[in-house]
């Protein structure tokens, strides 16, 4: 009693392009908080939360994060796009806050913009790419095309896949980079059909990905040609495309199948409350909240500086098992997964097929100086 | 006698500019009235007020029995009062024939239709499919008159129909106005060309500074003409 409460600042999208994923993140963090409070709090402290809408833009995101932090809710969590996370990370010292990244993948967040007070509890692009390099070797198809969003993440994904595939003796004759916000993919689909490849590496985001998949189906590109997805078989995309993604393999950041005691407990509790399995975004956000709570427990303090110090280099029991928070760049060293969209118990969702251990994670970026 | 148009003590404004000061005027069925006055006294404003293009603030406008409280540009024509506007206002992107058809928008039945107008102005038939604005000024004026006739109106307001026209065309128009009037259509002729007024009108109202300052009969004589000119020079 009398201990200072844990004050969480939940920043995510209630409106804008990422509203749907934002909703998932908010739900899962709230769930984690309610659960903690029901069990008597974290480190004997009550957890309080305030949330704000980042509108999907860095400017608004920074604004609400600052407001929350300055109001004392200085353990921040939740933004989706890297741009918002970068804008928040940049200001943590100024606001005396700490930040837990649960969805943003940009390498900058653990590279030149790494901060002592920001922690990434999800996979970075570099981690995904390391896995892709491994995975490409095992793919059976010989001839690939790349279809990726024309910005940093898509380009990185597409180019590293091409390199990885070519080093393992496969050919990638066609790479298409599509402007963000493209509605009509038919010109690209025509080229893909024309190229006669066995499979297509797809690195597209949100609405664009959904539009692509729907139109690919409409034009008969799939299922004839296989899709291989980088962050494609996420729950919300699978749900937005009918049955089109069934059987599609791809990277997946979290699934309810992960075999760890904490995950089992989480999935059971979640099912009890929502009568369905948690989605990938929900799992990642819940995991991030747990890392935050572990930090408070380790530090026995709610001061962002103390929490950050305690977490750096710590061993943590997470949904993904026992993991290290790498001291060099505050990246949680997660195992990574390749799965497939499959119908399980009447629901189409990603199911893990292959797990890549943390040992393949590349070394921390030399740009990160904390 | 039935009054087709009655203006009773109207005041009209363009924004804050007070143009018509308590003007009264009426035109009866079959009558040929001239509204005269020098440039800028507000003759066009009388028309614009009836059309709701100048703000009516005080006074009453009646079209037949119908009182116009809030005039809108389409109301007059729907009550059989059409305007041949100053400057003709031929609709640029419509052909000659379409401009005529536009005149029949209210769909009143009567003597006038496209073939009848062509009979009156054969030149328009020759140019039926050219854009209205490609006509010469005189031809445009004929088109504007023809368009007004297409509505089979009971009263036509002619706002300086001979402005910028050669005397021969003025003569021709004078004949046509008389012909139209003899078929029972009343005319309100707004004009500065007094030689036309004496040939067409049977009664005049002279305006100065936004109100009617004199009125009386018109005869097709030199004396009447002189008389009118002194009124305009007020």
């Amino acid at each position: 009693q009398g201990k200072e409460p844990v004050k969480v600042g939940l920043v995510s999208s209630k409106s804008g392009v990422f509203a749907q994923q934002g909703e998932e993140v908010m739900r899962a963090v709230q769930f984690a908080i309610d659960e903690a409070n029901a069990k008597g709090g974290v480190d004997g402290r009550k957890v309080e939360v305030q949330s704000g809408d980042d509108e999907g833009t860095p400017d608004a995101g920074r604004r609400v994060a600052e407001k929350l932090a300055r109001d004392g809710h200085n353990l921040l969590i939740g933004a989706i796009p890297s741009s918002i996370s970068l804008a928040i990370a940049q200001n943590l010292d100024r606001w005396d806050a700490a930040y837990f990244i649960v969805a943003s993948k940009s390498d900058k967040l653990t590279g030149d913009t790494c901060r002592a007070r920001s922690f990434r509890t999800n996979h970075s692009d570099a981690m995904d790419i390391a896995m892709i390099n491994e995975w490409a070797k095992s793919l059976k198809e010989k001839k690939f095309a790349v279809l990726a969003a024309d910005y940093v993440w898509g380009r990185d994904s597409g180019e590293s896949f091409k390199k990885a595939a070519e080093t393992s003796g496969k050919s990638v004759p066609l790479s298409l980079y599509v402007p963000m916000g493209t509605k009509d993919f038919s010109p690209y689909i025509a080229q893909l059909k024309d190229s006669g490849v066995d499979a297509i590496w797809v690195a597209e985001t949100g609405r664009d990905a959904i539009a692509f998949v729907k139109q690919a189906e409409e034009f008969g590109l799939i299922p004839k040609t296989k899709l291989i997805g980088h962050s494609l078989i996420q729950n919300f995309m699978i749900n937005g495309t009918g049955k089109a993604l069934e059987g599609t393999p791809g990277t997946t950041a979290y699934t309810p199948d992960i075999d760890s005691p904490r995950n089992k407990a989480f999935v059971t509790a979640w099912k009890a409350k929502f009568n369905r399995l948690p989605t990938d975004n929900e799992g990642q956000a819940y995991n991030g909240a747990q890392v935050m709570f572990d930090g408070v427990k380790l530090a026995k303090s709610v001061k962002p500086a103390d929490v950050s110090k305690a977490l750096r280099g710590a061993q943590l029991d997470t949904l993904y098992g026992n993991l290290t928070m790498r001291a060099a760049d505050n990246q949680l060293l997660l195992p990574n997964y390749v799965g497939r969209a499959k119908v399980v118990d009447g629901v189409l969702r990603p199911v893990v097929e292959h797990t890549f251990p943390p040992s393949i994670i590349p070394a921390p970026s030399p740009l990160c100086k904390m | 006698m039935t009054a087709l148009l009655t203006l009773d003590n109207i005041n009209a404004f363009y924004g804050s500019a007070h143009i018509l000061h308590g003007l009264s005027l009426s035109v009866n069925a079959g009558e040929r009235v001239a509204l005269i006055g020098r440039n800028g006294v507000g003759k066009t404003t009388v028309v614009n007020t009836i059309l709701g293009l100048a703000a009516l603030k005080g006074g009453q406008i009646h079209l037949g029995k119908h009182a116009l409280h809030k005039p809108r540009p389409y109301m007059a024509a729907q009550h059989g009062v059409v305007v041949v506007p100053q400057g003709r206002r031929i609709v640029a992107n419509l052909s000659v024939e379409e401009n005529l058809q536009l005149g029949a928008a209210v769909g009143r039945k009567g003597h006038w239709n496209v073939p009848e107008v062509y009979k009156l102005f054969p030149i328009l038939q020759e140019r039926a499919h050219t854009p209205g604005t490609a006509l010469s000024g005189g031809q445009q004026q004929m088109l504007a008159v023809g368009r007004a006739l297409m509505a089979n109106p009971s009263l036509i307001l002619l706002d300086e129909p001979t402005e910028g026209l050669a005397p021969v065309i003025v003569d021709q128009l004078a004949r046509i106005f008389n012909q139209v009037a003899s078929q029972g259509t009343a005319l309100l002729l707004i004009e500065q060309n007094m030689s036309l007024v004496v040939r067409v009108a049977e009664r005049y109202c002279a305006m100065a500074k936004g109100s009617v300052v004199a009125h009386g009969p018109v005869e097709n004589t030199r004396e009447s003409l002189k008389d009118l000119e002194t009124h305009v020079m007020v």
Partner: protein
Amino acid sequence: MSISRIFSFSGAALVAGLALTFGVSSGTVLSLLTQATIFAIFALGVGLLLRQNGMASFGHATYFGSAGYIIGILLQLKAVPAEAAIVLAVLGITGFAFLLGLVIVRVPGIAFGMLTLAVGQMFFLTANRSRGLTGGADGMNIEWPATLFGFPMSAIVQPGHMFMLSWAVLIVCMGGLALGLHGRFGAITEAVRDNEERARFIGIRTLLPRAALFALSAGITSVAGTLTALNTGFVSPESLHWSVSGVALMMVIVGGYKALWGPALGAIVYFLAKDVLGDYANHWMAIFGIALITVIVFSPTGLAGALGRLFKGKRQPRAAAAQAAQATQAKPVKPSAPAARTAH
């Protein structure tokens, strides 16, 4: 307004800002006020163009966001000191806008707005898909040095100081504009706005003043962009997006652009209202949309106009009548109507 009144008003405003800084202890409130003030400068730039030139820009975010990018890139390359980077950004944007203005201010009416929109979207799309230095869609950090103009950075970014700085810049911009527009440049631009043709016939070349005004307006907007870069240390393509321009334009209209301070008022009201209504964030857009429509419908001259009327209740009827006159005059002079010819 006479020159001495401009000075006394500016002085009073500066003192008021100072008092506010010391009166308000909450960092949250100060940082909110800082953002409001920065957007007030942004809106001042957009409003200037509308007020003095009669032109609405849907693309001023370009100048707002580019300031951050130019500074960010120059600092990252370690090409010049930060102070020089700031000056270069503002001057560079002003110069660019001047050249662009020479070309685009010739295009009349709403098409001008669409042109600015198109130019802005080209910048946005380019920034969004680029990689490397600017970080593309993820945005880039701006690595400010430890000291700026001799002041330690950590002191500058303190909420109170940041607010004072922004407020001072706003007042200086506003006062400077009031002074500048008081004189011949103001008269020329007003004349060109009211009646470009007649302006030529009293011996005024109309292109240069309009381009210069466009540049000035972009320049002021870039000052707001610079302050944002200072305040957040981060810039991303979203700050170039047309919706940002749209929001700024709405601040201008809601505040009322007939008065120089109207747009600034609009920006501040926008931020305060948004903060107060924060709890209804889900419906913020609808609330704002309705508020926008209400203000436009009930006060064509915006909040500034409404306030002005409140203080000197008399002038209103004349202004309204003048507007009605414009409306009736505008009517018959439709492009193709023969009446249009009589315009000389």
